[in-house]
Amino acid sequence: MSVPFFLIFAALAVFCAINLVVQTHPIASALSLIGVMGSLAVLYLQLGGEFIFAAQVIVYAGAIMVLFIFVIMLLNAGAETPTFQVSRFVRYLGIILLVAFLGLISFIIQAGLPKTEGVVFGAFQGGTALEIGRKLFTSYLLPFEVTSVLILIALVGAIVLARKEV
């Protein structure tokens, strides 16, 4: 049950990522990126990260990508025109070399990992909000406070940069 689940969402993620790179209009790329984030959120759920699943959907797909879509709509970004023309032979050779490269990476990764048992949904129960909250306020308190200052800096910076000149 876990394997078809993983394969479906992994295929969806890869398809949406390829769509992101290939599409000419930025809105289509943005929607493909939302598809990638959604399928990755489901994969986090399978790995036992239920809080990260919710955080990914709320923060990434629900706030950051809305910001991207706002900016694309405001700037009225149109479709990109390709500059350089490549011959068909080079394009096909590129795709074959890309697949070979990714296959090589996959082989190296898979050979380098020790043989543990695989991922089963439900085997890791420690990803709850309780555990994350506990660690966040004890071991990782300093990064937590620093990121809150970082968000404040980003907030002030974005307002200063994007306001009208009076």
């Binding site: 049950m1 876990s2 394997v3 993983f6 890869v14 990522a17 390829i18 992101l20 790179v21 930025p26 790329s29 943005a30 990126l33 990638v36 984030m37 994969l43 986090y44 399978q46 790995l47 036992g48 990260i52 990914q56 923060v59 990434y60 950051i64 910001l67 991207f68 900016v71 694309i72 700037l75 970004a77 990109e80 500059t83 890309l98 990714l102 990476i105 996959s106 990764i109 898979q110 990992l113 543990t116 695989g118 991922v119 089963v120 085997a123 890791f124 420690g126 994350i132 660690k135 966040l136 071991s139 990782y140 990121t147 970082l150 968000i151 980003a154 907030l155 974005a158 940069l161 994007a162």
Partner: protein
């Protein structure tokens, strides 16, 4: 095999997504699409963090992933504000045309 997904598959997926993010970053000319490829790379790295957190049965990977998300949010906000300013001054979004400091 029938029930458990091998851990290396998650890392291979993360590597593929990261590679596609790098490809988008290098080949695309629209500045917003370049920025979105950066977000794709950050997502791929988040998947690696959560995978390794599963392998060692500790929650620290989730926390690092959470911090990556927070930093990505701050970066997206400021980056998009910069893009808006650049567009206001140069009236173009193609990075080939934004190639000199003086306009």
């Amino acid at each position: 095999m029938p029930n458990a997904v091998p851990l290396s598959w998650y890392l291979i997926l993360s590597a593929i997504l990261f590679g596609l993010g790098v490809a988008g970053f290098i080949f695309r000319r629209n500045i917003i699409t370049v920025f979105m490829s950066i977000e794709l790379m950050l997502n791929a790295v988040n998947l690696s963090f959560v995978t390794f957190s599963y392998e060692f049965r500790q929650v620290d990977g989730h926390i690092y992933s959470f911090f990556v998300m927070v930093v990505a949010a701050a970066e997206a906000a400021v980056g998009l504000a910069i893009i808006l300013t650049v567009f206001k001054n140069r009236s173009t979004l193609m990075i080939d045309e934004i190639n000199s400091m003086k306009y």
